[in-house]
Amino acid sequence: MKLLPILLFLIAFQSCSDKKSKPAVEVAMKKNLHDEEEVFNPNKVISLNFEELEERYLQKKNDSIYVINFWATWCKPCIKELPAFEKIASEYSNEKVKVLLVSLDFPEKLDSQVVLFIKKNKIKSEVVLLDDPDANSWIPKVSEQWSGAIPATIIYKKENRKFYEQSFTFEELETELKTFL
């Protein structure tokens, strides 16, 4: 009975003091946005077909860990989990973790939806648009496990690769990421 308020207090206090001891995530993200030189330019969201996406982003052989998230502006659970991916990108930028957000919005909505969304929410991770209508041919190439529902995420480092058809909280995503570090 007594424990509940104590816990509440501790949690609240903890998060508050966290913010003071080290910069809050949101603050850090914004700071990086302004300071960092190589900021992803939301006006340059490129469209790729699956072959191009695969070649450029899905089979890198370097030391980085790639977190590839499939999302769309109309997908509520996707939007809900984006902050977790942004936080991973900012907190693990020194650990060679790279986040790519692959939008599955309709190509004609690129400017009116995707670019607007990126600007409005100050998305810092790189965004590309996957414009490839024959999903039946490429979904299994992303993963045989994928039913096609979004959000979906791949984490990989060289040959080591995991696929997730689920929503992530920051903690869940971090736990998975740590298995690659």
């Binding site: 207090f9 659970p77 309709f106 999903a135 096609g148 979004i150």
Partner: protein, 229 residues
């Protein structure tokens, strides 16, 4: 008792402080949406109960669900049907909306041949407010649905079938009074643009069944909106 009260007030105070901490970091201009989402209390943990659902050859369960005209509908009501085109769909998912005309066309093409379309909305309107029963009624009217559009209110049917997204199609064939799953997946190979479809997966499968053949392409994949549990 006093002690408890003290703790509670302390906790309340701490929560207030916590909130004000949050507020400090929120840019007042326009990016409210994403920052709001960062707050832990917004992050729900979804139950990852792995229901595998049906595979090809399984017997699909019958159901009794409410149609947009308030009537209850079951597969067993269709005495003359040879099978069913069961489509899990919803009101606003862009892929579902892009498929509406094709669903109507499929019903028109295959109902007379014994394979009517049965559409089911699996989404929980508490999670997806655009998918209430009332808005389903509106959608059915506006989109000119010629088939039942059923409300999976208990969210039990989609789970049994294993539908993960909308639209998600299950083609069933009646065999000895059982409804056997013959095809699972997409309507065709181009959800976005009906005029650029090259392969009508579902229609091909129904035609194969009508011709007494085995379905050649039994499973296909398509992007869809995840079912809102």
């Amino acid at each position: 008792m006093k002690k408890i009260l003290t703790y509670i007030s302390l906790a309340a105070l701490a929560l207030l402080t916590f909130n004000s901490c949050k507020n400090e970091s929120v840019d007042k201009s326009e990016d409210v949406a994403i920052n709001e989402i960062v707050q832990p209390e917004f992050t729900e943990i979804e139950s990852e109960t792995e229901t595998k659902g049906y595979i090809i050859g399984d017997e699909a369960t019958d159901f009794k669900l409410k149609d947009v005209n308030e009537k209850m509908v079951s597969l067993s009501d269709y005495k003359e049907a040879k099978g069913f085109i069961v489509i899990f769909t919803c009101n606003t998912c862009p892929f579902a909306v892009a498929s509406e005309e094709r669903m109507v066309a499929l019903d028109k093409e295959f109902k007379p041949k014994g394979y009517p379309v049965i559409a089911i909305n699996p989404n929980n309107p508490e999670v997806q407010p655009d998918d209430t029963y009332e808005l389903m009624q509106k959608k059915a009217k506006e989109a000119g649905f010629t088939f039942p559009y059923l409300y999976d209110e208990s969210q039990s049917v989609y789970a049994k079938y294993g539908a993960t997204k909308t639209p998600h199609v299950y083609l069933l064939q009646k065999e000895d009074g059982k409804n056997i799953v013959k095809y699972i997946g997409a309507i065709d190979d181009n959800v976005r643009n009906a005029s650029e479809v090259k392969d009508r997966f579902l229609a091909n499968a129904v035609n194969e069944l009508l011709a007494g053949k085995e379905v050649s392409v039994k499973e296909t994949k398509a992007i869809g909106c995840s079912v809102k549990q």
